[in-house]
Symmetry: D2
Subunit: 362 residues, 4 copies
C-alpha cells in the first residue's frame, strides 16, 4: 500500500482514476522562491494531452490544470503544491462489457487479484490518464532544474521496428524536430515512415511498440546516493513505473553486454582545463553518481494493449473462456505520448537528487 508517493526531498503524490471526477498530484518539497505559474504546467500537460493527432487517442480533454496551493505572488512558498485536472470526457459505457473480462496486456486481472475489487471503468487507476499527475509534477521539477541550468528532452528513436537516425547531439535542435511531428521523432524521414506504419496497424486493428530516449544536459557531477538510491537506480524505477515500459537502459545500455572493457570504458581527458570524458557509453553515470556528462536513458515501450482485434480472455464471473474486441479510443502506439511522461519522471528524479546532494558535504 501507499505506493503513490515518489521521491525523498522533492516528493510527488499522485491520485485519481481514469473515469473518476479528477486526477491530480501534490508536489511537496519544492524549494521556496521558484517563479512558477499555471502556464509552466499547462504547456507540459498540453504535450501529454490526447486527441491531438492521428498518432493518439481521440478522447477530448482540455486538461486545464488548477493550482490550489503552495504558490503566493508568483513564487513557490516551500509548502505543498496541489494540482488538479477534472475529468470531463470520460465515457464509461464501453467498459461495462469488459467488467468481468480482463483485457490481455492490461492490469485488470492483476488489480482484481490484488484488491479483490476494482474500478473497471477506463482502466481505473491503471489508466494512462494517471500520468497527468506525473507530467504536472514534472513541469515543476523542470522549472527547478532549468533554474540550475539543467535541460531535459525526450524523443522517439524507434517505432514499430523503424529506427531513427539521430545525427545531432544538439538537444535544442533534437527537441524542436521531435516536437514538429506527431510521433515525436527528430529524424523526419523516419517519422514519416513511422506515421505510415501507424496507419497500417490501425487498419489491422493492431498496435506498435517503440523506444524512447530521454537526455538531460547540464547535470552537475555528484548526483545520486549509493548504494541503493543510485541515480541510475532511481531513474530505472521512475521510468519502469510508467505503464507499458518493459526495459530501461542507461547510456549504451543493453549493448554493453557485447562490448569489451576497453571499448566500454569512457576515457578521461583534460579539455580547456576541465575534466571530460572522451565518450559517453556510461550515459553520464558511474557508480550510481552523475559525472557531469549528459544523462542518457532509454525505455522500451510495449505496443498498446488495447487493440480492436479479437483476443482470447476469460470471464472471471463464470470462469469460462471468452473473447473480446476492444472498441473505444486508444492510441495505436504509446511512445509519442509517453515522451513528456518520461521526461517528467527523469525531471522529478533529478530535482530530488539535486536537493539531496546539498547534504553531501560538510
Amino acid at each position: 500500500m501507499s505506493g503513490n508517493t515518489f521521491g525523498t526531498l522533492f516528493r510527488i503524490t499522485t491520485w485519481g482514476e481514469s473515469h473518476g471526477s479528477a486526477v491530480g498530484v501534490v508536489v511537496d518539497g519544492c524549494p521556496a522562491g521558484l517563479q512558477l505559474c499555471g502556464e509552466d504546467v499547462q504547456k507540459e500537460l498540453d504535450r501529454r494531452r490526447p486527441g491531438q493527432s492521428r498518432a493518439s487517442s481521440s478522447r477530448q480533454e482540455a486538461d486545464r490544470v488548477e493550482m490550489l496551493s503552495g504558490i503566493f505572488e508568483g513564487r513557490t512558498t516551500g509548502t505543498p503544491i496541489s494540482m488538479l485536472v477534472w475529468n470531463k470526457d470520460a465515457d464509461s459505457s464501453a467498459y461495462d462489457a469488459l467488467k468481468d473480462k480482463p483485457r490481455p496486456g492490461h492490469a485488470d486481472f492483476a488489480y482484481q487479484m490484488k484488491y479483490g475489487l476494482r474500478d473497471h471503468r477506463g482502466g481505473g487507476r491503471a489508466s494512462a490518464r494517471e500520468t497527468v499527475g506525473r507530467v504536472a509534477a514534472g513541469a515543476i521539477a523542470k522549472r527547478l532544474l532549468i533554474s540550475e541550468g539543467i535541460h531535459i528532452i525526450g524523443y522517439v528513436i524507434e517505432l514499430g521496428g523503424i529506427k531513427a537516425d539521430i545525427e545531432s547531439s544538439d538537444i535544442s535542435e533534437l527537441s524542436v524536430k521531435a516536437e514538429s511531428n506527431p510521433v515525436r521523432c527528430p529524424d523526419l524521414d523516419a517519422a514519416k515512415n513511422m506515421l505510415q506504419r501507424l496507419d497500417e496497424v490501425r487498419q489491422e486493428k493492431d498496435s506498435l511498440g517503440g523506444i524512447v530516449a530521454v537526455i538531460a544536459e547540464g547535470v552537475p557531477p555528484g548526483l545520486g546516493e549509493p548504494v541503493f538510491d543510485k541515480l541510475d537506480a532511481d531513474l530505472a524505477k521512475a521510468l519502469m513505473s510508467i505503464g507499458a515500459v518493459k526495459a530501461v537502459e542507461i547510456g549504451i545500455g543493453l549493448h554493453s553486454a557485447k562490448m569489451l572493457g576497453s571499448e566500454m570504458n569512457d576515457s578521461l581527458k583534460i579539455r580547456e582545463g576541465e575534466i571530460e570524458f572522451e565518450s559517453n557509453n556510461a550515459g553520464g553515470i558511474l557508480g550510481g553518481i552523475s559525472t557531469g556528462a549528459p544523462i542518457v536513458c532509454k525505455i522500451a515501450v510495449k505496443p498498446t494493449p488495447s487493440i480492436a482485434k479479437r483476443q482470447r480472455t476469460v470471464d472471471i464471473a463464470s470462469m469460462k473462456s471468452a473473447e473480446i474486441e476492444i472498441v473505444g479510443r486508444h492510441d495505436p502506439a504509446i511512445p509519442p505520448r509517453i515522451v513528456p511522461v518520461a521526461e517528467a519522471m527523469v525531471a522529478v528524479v533529478l530535482a530530488d537528487h539535486l536537493l539531496r546532494q546539498r547534504a553531501a558535504r560538510l
Copy 2:
C-alpha cells in the same frame, strides 16, 4: 545521503568498504518465527565469494558471516538481524598509484566530485565487495520466500556475445546446470565457449560483458504497489543499483518494442479451473502487480572496468593527462559472480512486497 537502506517493510541497510575492517548489513522487518541459521546465509555468500575459479578474481576471502542479533533459539525474533563479514585479504598497495588517477569505467571520479574526498583503496564503497551485504540479506529474504513457496534462480544467458540456448523452463534443472560450471550458464555447450572466450580476453588484458536472467516462481498474484512502487519498478531499481548493470528488462523486455499488440498481449485461459496465461511476454507483471506467472527479469552487465590494458585518464592532482594499467585481482567478467547478487536483490524486493501485500485488503 542515506541511500544505503532499501525496502519498506523488509528493509536492508548495508555498510562497509572494500578495504575497511568489514562489510555488513542490517536486515530489519523480517517476520518473527522464521527458522534461520548461519548456514542459510553462508551458502549464499559462498556462491558470491571470489577466488573460486578462473572466471573470477583471485582475492581470497573466507567470507564467514557472523550473525550478531535478531535470532533466538534458531528463529528470527522480529528484531533487526545484523550480519558482518570481516575483510581479511585486502591488499591496498596496488591502489596507491591510482589515488589521483580515476580509473575509466569506475566510480572514482564521481565519488571524488560528490564527496570531495574518498577512500580510494579497492574502490572503497563502490567495490563489488559491497554486495556481500546484499547477498547476506538476500539469503534471509529467500528463506522467507521459500516458506511461502517462492523460489528464485539466476543464470548467465549471454557472455561476450555468446548466447545460451535455454530450452528448459524447469527452474530446478536450470539452477543445477548453471551452478555446475564457473560461468553459471545452464547451456553447457555455451558455457564451454564462454569460458574459452574469457581465457582469450584475459590474455588480451581485456574483459567481457553479458546478460543475466533471474526468475521467480510461485509468486502469488497481487504483489506490487502502484503507481510508483510497482513490482517491476522496484525490481528495476533493485537490479540497476547493482554495480555494472546498464539495463533491466522485465519479461520479453526490449524486444517488446518491435512487437505488435496482438503478439505481445498474453491471452488468458482457464486450465483445470484456474486462470492462466497462454504466454508470458509480460514476465509475470501487469500494471506493476504480479499476475501469478513466473517473474522474469534480465540485466545487461557491462564488461569489468578494471582491465590490465593501458587506458587514458587524468591526474586530478596535477590536472594533466595520464595513463594507467590496472594490475590487481579482477574478474574478467562480472556476470557469473553477479548471479547471486541479482537473485538476492530480487528476493529482497519480493519479500518486501509479500509483506506489503498483507495490507492490501480489509
Copy 3:
C-alpha cells in the same frame, strides 16, 4: 522539505493554505473493500468546523468535502483517496497590516526565516485550517479502526485551569457528554465554568489554554514497531505536530516522574481466562507496543496566540519595534476544536500500525 506526508502504510499527505483556494488531503494505503461515503468524512469535518458556538471563531465555512478518487460503488479500491474542501469565507484584509509584523506566539517569524518568503494571509500553511485535511483523513482511519473494533474518543479535561472530574470510564458516555457542550468537556459542571471563564477572557481580549485527552479502546496487543516507530513515539509525533500542542503524555504521563516503581508498574492478573492489567498507568503501551489495555494520551494546548490585546513585536521591513492588536475571528481557546483533530491523528497512527502489524509474524 516534504514534511507533509505522515505514515508508513496508511499514509496521508495534506496540502493547502488558510486563504488559498482550498485545503485537502490524499490518503494512500487504505485497504480495499472498506465501506466509505462522504457522510463518514463530513460528520467529522462538521465537528471541526468553526463558527458553531461562542467557544470558537466566527469564520463561516460550510466545509463540504469532495471525495475525488479511490472509491467505487461505495467501497475503497486500495488506490489513493483524494479529498478537498474549498475555502470560501477567507477574508485576507485583516492580515495586510500584519505582513511585516510577526505575531507573537505564531509561526510568522519562523516561516519567514525558513523560506525567505511566506503567504502571510491568515497564517498561510500554519493556520488551524490546515487541520481540515487531518480530520478528513482521520475519518477514514476511524472507519477502518471501527471495522476492527477499535474506538477513539477525545475530550477536554482542563481549560483555563479548571479541571474536569472524570468519573466514568465508559467511553460512549464520555463521548456523548463531551459532544453535548461547546467546550467538549464530559464533566458538565466544569464545562459550565469553563464557558464562563472563556467569556471573561474574551472580554479581556485574552485567551486560554487547556488539556485534551484522547482514548482508544479495543486496540489489540502488538501494535508499534520498536525501537523508533514505537506506538507511543508515533503518537507523540502525531499529536505534537498539531499546532499549539506543547506537551504529550502517555498514560499517567508527567506524574510518573513522582511515583515509585511499585506504584507505577501495572500488575498483571488473569481474569476469566484472559491476561489483564490491574491498573493502566502505562496508558496501554509498554516497550512501545500496545498491550490491549486502552491507549491513553493527553496533550497540553497553549492559549490561542491571536489575542486582541496589544502586543510587542517588530517590523521586519524597517527592523524597528512595533505593536499589534490582532483583530479578526479567533477561537478564545483551542482545546474544544482540537479534540477532533487529536482524535484524527491518533486514528491515523493506529490505522498505520494496525496494517504494519500484519507483517510482524511469519
Copy 4:
C-alpha cells in the same frame, strides 16, 4: 516492522539485544569531510555506561566502540558509518526464571503478544542496552552540530519529587555541574538530596522517576518541516522512543495549559540590530520551525520497572497468577543515565533537520 531506522537524511539504524553478541548502529547520511575519531564516540558511550556509581546498575561493560566503516584518514567519507560494541558482561541466568512471567512495567508481555516469541534474556531488544547505538550515533550528530556552532546539554531537573533549582542559563556551567555528580543534576544541593533519596528507595527495593531537560543552543532559525515533520514533532518522537519516557514537553510545556495568551506569547524585540524574543516559553520552536532561541525539551521518566519488591504477574505458560522479585543489576533510577541518551536523540533530530533545511530555498 522495520522500525529500527530513524531520520530522513541523517539516518540511524540500531540493532542488537541485551544478551546477544553485540549492539550497534549504522549512521547513514553524515556529510563527507567531518573530522571524526573513535574517541569522539567513546567519550559519549562512557557517559552512558553502567557500573559507574551508586546511581546506576552494577553491570560491568567496557563498551569499547569499534568503528567499522565510513571513515578514511580521520574524516567521514559520506558512506555509512557502522559502529559496534560487544556484549561482554551479559549474565542471563537471572532471567530464566522470568521467561514465562512478564515483568510488570516491562515490555515482556507486549513483545510476546506482538511477535509470538521473544529473546527474554535481559529484556532482549527492549533493554536499556539498546541505547548504546543511539548514543554512538548521537556522538557523530553532535560533532556535526558543533561544526555548525550548535551545542546540546542535558541534566536532571527532578528526581523522586526533589526539584532542582536551576538559576543559571549558561549551558557550559550547567553541563559542568551536572556532570560533576552521579545524578547529573546541576543544582548540587538538590543532587545531594536526590542521591540520599536513591539510597532510601534502594533499601526499600523500590525505584524513582524523574524529569530530564535537554537544551540546544546555537540552533539557527528555520529548522523543521511542517506540517508533520515539525521540529517539535520529531523531537517528541525521538524522545518518546526512549524506553521509560512517558511525557515530552517543549518549552514551558504542560504549564502552557494554565496560561493566558498574553502570558504565553513571547514578544519580539530588536536588540543590537537582531530580532530576539523577550522570553522563551515556546522553547525555541514556533509552527514547528526553530526560531533561533534555545530549543528546550523536557521528558518525564518513569521509575525503573525492575524492582526487588515482590510484584504480581501471571505465568503465561500455565495461565495462572504468579509473583516475582526481580534480582539482578538495575539502576534505582533511570534519569541520570538517560541524560546522554536524550541528548543523543535531540542531536540526531537536529542533525537531520540541519541537512533537510539545506533544501528549503532555491
